[in-house]
Each structure stands twice: as structure tokens, then as C-alpha cells.
Amino acid sequence: MEFIFELLIAFFLIVSGIFGFVGSFGMIKLKDPMSRLHAPTKATTLGVGGVLLASICHSVLIEGHLSLHELLITLFLFLTAPITALFIAKWHIHRHEKPEDLPDAGEDELWATHAVEQVEDVPDHSAN
């Protein structure tokens, strides 16, 4: 029985390792900044999720007590990760994207980042 439990825990650890690796590999392979932003979202969902599942399994099945710290870590990650992604994306739009290059914002005409007063002397990095 112990063996099956260890197999299950090892499975979750390997899953998290694979997705953590793919997330970091994506940071190197993807070339444009907006696509790079996609890579860490994988590391924070299944990458961390796998470790947390393995940790819950270990404490319940092998140590024999219920541990729910892991649920809190998931909760805090899901609260904070989208905020950082949004901030990086907004920074990118502010510095590198022109209103013409983005899709039409419908009746509001501009996206919120462009609706503030534009600073003219922004260096142009849009080529990278």
C-alpha cells in the first residue's frame, strides 16, 4: 500500500517538474515580450499545483494527518499572479504599443493604458 502512495506522490512531483521546466523553457524560446508573459502562468498553475498536491498526499497518506496550508498557498497565488501579469502587460502596452496596433476598443475608443496623457519622449523598443 505504501508503494502505491509513493507512486502517486512521485507522479504529482514529476508532473510539476515537467510543467515548471516547460514554463522556464518558454521564457527562452518565445521571442516577443507579450508571449513570454504566458510562460510563468504555467509554472504557477500546474507547476506549483503538482507540488502542493504531492504535499497534501504525503501528509494525509504517509504522515497520517490533514494539512491544509497548501490550499492557502493556492489561494494566495491565484490572488497575486494575475495582478503581476496585468502590471507587466500594462507596462508593455504603455511603452511599446500604439493605439493603432491594438484591436478596436469599441465605444470606449481607447484602452485604459492609452487613455492617460501620453509622454512624447518614449524610446522606441518595438522592434525587439
Binding site: 523553457f25 507579450m34 491565484f78 501579469a85 502587460a89 508593455h92 502596452i93 485604459a112
Partner: protein
């Protein structure tokens, strides 16, 4: 009833804070339950002025359904995106902006929708239009932005509308 509302201005937050405290303590005991309840009563009471137009959550079964749908989508999307990163040539990838017209008007509901889109691999919510009527989403690889838009509206926005509005 009025007195009860005054002591518990935000009953759901009270329950949430107590639960979070119990999870933090990580060992269920009367001690941590009592202290969690004390925090759960004091914090909503003190922060009450900061919640002027708090939305009412209706339809609790839908909340559970929404969480399960999102978790399932995260697993599926992780595999899809891993395939794109590992096996697709970078030149073949078609990154795209997608504009999602919002039917949701509650700020809290829009926040939840944007967070969900970001946490689902393959899409990142990037900006809101100036008056908050559209959401700008960046898609890692899609040849059909309209399909992405319809899927997000169908799977997430419809359910959030039932939960919040």
C-alpha cells in the same frame, strides 16, 4: 436582525477569514477557531467603510461549478500550451490580441473574469477599455480570435453573470 447586520456586516468575509485562520493554524482546535472568529468579526467591522457597493453573491452552486470548470480548463490548457512551447516552431505560432466586449458591469465580477483568463494558460488579460466596456486579451497561439472570444464569453462570463448580477 438589524443588530445582527451591524455586528456581522459581511457574513461571508467572516466565514472566509475564520477558515483562512484555521488553515493557517493547520491543526483544528477550539483555540484557533475562537481566535479565527474574533478576527472574522473585527476585520469586516473595521473595514466596512471600504465596501460601499458590495455585490451580493447569489447562486452558490454556480460558484462551485465555476471553480470546477476553471480548474479543469487550467489542466487542459496547460497541456495544450506545453505542446505549443515544446513542439511548435516559433515562426509558426500566431500570437494575437483578442477584444472581449463585456456584459458584466460589477467591478468585482470583471476582476474575477480577468484573473481567470490570466490563470488559464494561453491567454493573458492585458487591459480594460477606458470606460470598462471591453477587455483586451493576449492569446499565445490562435488563428481564430473570434473563437477564443466566444469560448471565454460562453464558459466564464455567462457563469459569472449568474453569480454576480
Amino acid at each position: 436582525m438589524e443588530l445582527l447586520r451591524r455586528i456581522f456586516p459581511h457574513p461571508q468575509l467572516t466565514i472566509l477569514l475564520t477558515l483562512v485562520w484555521l488553515f493557517l493554524a493547520n491543526a483544528p482546535s477550539l483555540n484557533s477557531l475562537v481566535f479565527g472568529l474574533i478576527l472574522g468579526i473585527i476585520i469586516p467591522f473595521v473595514t466596512q467603510p471600504y465596501w460601499p457597493d458590495r455585490p451580493k453573491l447569489r447562486n452558490w452552486p454556480m460558484v462551485i461549478e465555476y471553480m470546477l470548470v476553471v480548474l479543469w480548463d487550467i489542466v487542459v490548457a496547460n497541456v495544450t500550451v506545453a505542446k505549443i512551447i515544446l513542439f511548435k516552431r516559433d515562426a509558426d505560432r500566431q500570437p494575437n490580441w483578442v477584444c472581449i466586449p463585456l456584459e458584466l458591469r460589477t467591478p468585482e465580477a470583471i476582476t474575477v473574469l480577468a484573473g481567470t483568463i490570466t490563470m488559464t494558460p494561453g491567454t493573458v488579460s492585458c487591459d480594460l477599455s477606458a470606460q470598462g466596456h471591453n477587455l483586451l486579451v493576449h492569446c499565445l497561439d490562435t488563428s481564430d480570435p473570434d473563437a477564443v472570444r466566444d469560448q471565454i464569453k460562453q464558459r466564464y462570463e455567462r457563469r459569472l453573470k449568474e453569480i454576480f448580477e
